[in-house]
Amino acid sequence: MSPALPIRLERLAYRVPGKTILDCLEATIAEPGITALIGPNGAGKSVTLRLIDGLLTPSEGTIRIGADGSARRAFVFQRPALVRASVSRNVALALEPLALSRRERTSRIERALARVGLRGRAGDPATKLSGGEQQRLALARAWATEPQLLLLDEPTASLDPAATEALEALVAEMAGGGTKILIVSHNLGQVARLADDVVVLDAGRAVEHGPTRQVLFHPRTAEARAYLKGELPWTSFAAAS
């Protein structure tokens, strides 16, 4: 069992002055593999990921990750945030808090870059990479830390189909290696291809949670039906599934 499981979100609330963003959100993610978080714009998906990562603190409720909350987490944002330094330096930065030996650090950087196909670019300035390459670098950076829980917020939103496919393959490979993955995506074809289960958020609550096929094809709640009807590109989705 992955040390990141189960992930329990209990009566989770997140408020900012004058606004309730999450409102008594309940979900338990117990299965390994890839869980997708879907829902309309402003539903609270990104806030939920930030809460799980610890970037935000809940106003109410609790988040329990695994038995003792010690699971190593990594976050890949929609827009890759890279520092103005070389490709390998960007990965090295993520390894700093892990206190690895120099040898282990070098070998992890090399392996991570090789895995995303950027080994030949290790010395290049990271900001000179294309959008897709930057996102792959962000994934390599997360990968190098060997996370037990990986949070992905619309990682392919600005990528072309080829780059999207490359990233999806990497994500699937990581999940296969035992990393628990939570992914937010508006690309329902991608959700169908990658996710084992799906949580639907609407107006700060989890309105539905079930196996991918069931949620996408036979949503039980009106909110999930409304979202899927509006967002689902039926033709491409049918082709993908």
């Binding site: 990594a74 976050f75 944002f77 945030a81 520092v83 930065l93 808090p97 300035p125």
Partner: protein, 231 residues
């Protein structure tokens, strides 16, 4: 007029020792002040940019307002501090280059801090969350942000140098424009103009402009190089 101009160039050409000494003093004083301004202003601005504390927006407002401090007022305050009966009087540095460095430091520190805060805040908006997610310590995060914007900070440093080398109020009040000791380019230009030695005033003016252009060209070359190397 024609005579003044040719006289200006002949004095420039001979690189009059007096002109050279004055330019050198100006440069030393202003560069020292900018160095002190960087040592204080860059960490201060970064700290305000990355930390959250009560009264922060007030601090930012104050910092921004302090960018426009009138040099002569800064000179006056530093004069009062350094004068014999002032709290720093025992130092005995009034009417010395050290006093001019002190006054110009006070002048440029808020400028550097305010510009640094803006530049680092922009970088924080872009990178901050990612760095926190990597569980890097606050100090480390601040260090990474400053390093990331190092070439943009050059603009702030340059602005500070421009302000320092071209101001007259502060150096005049605390330095006293003493011939051969605290006379800078700006105070000399003002004095020589009043005395009617327009050739010397113009020669000094050309040197001053030349210095400012040289420094800013060096800075933009460095930035262009950095943009090519780091994007």
């Amino acid at each position: 007029m024609h005579e003044t101009l040719s006289d200006t160039f002949s004095r420039l050409a001979s690189l009059d020792r007096e002109v050279f000494a004055i330019a050198w003093l100006s440069l030393r004083v202003s560069l020292s002040a900018v160095l002190i301004g960087c040592l204080v202003g860059i960490p201060l601005g970064s700290l305000v940019a990355v930390s959250r504390f009560p009264g922060r927006s007030g601090a930012v407002g104050l910092l921004n307002a302090a960018m426009g401090l009138p040099p002569v007022i800064v000179g006056l305050v530093v004069y009062l501090l350094l004068s014999r009966s002032g709290p720093l009087g025992p130092l005995g540095i009034l009417f010395t280059p050290a006093a001019m460095v002190a006054a110009q430091s006070v002048l440029v520190t808020p400028l550097i801090a305010a510009l640094t805060r803006q530049i680092v805040a922009d970088a924080e908006a872009h990178l901050g969350e990612q760095l926190r997610s990597l569980r890097l310590s606050a100090w480390r995060r601040a260090g990474i942000l400053i390093f990331d914007v190092r070439f943009s900070l050059l603009t702030a440093v340059l602005a500070a140098f421009g302000r320092a080398i071209s101001e007259i109020g502060a150096v005049l009040v605390v330095g006293g424009n003493i011939d051969g000791f605290t006379r800078t380019m700006t105070t000399a230009i003002s004095l020589e103009t009043q005395k009617g030695d327009l050739a010397l005033a113009l020669a000094l003016g050309l040197v001053l402009i030349g210095l400012v252009i040289l420094v800013s060209m060096a800075a933009s070359l460095l930035r262009a190089y950095a943009a090519r190397a780091y994007g």
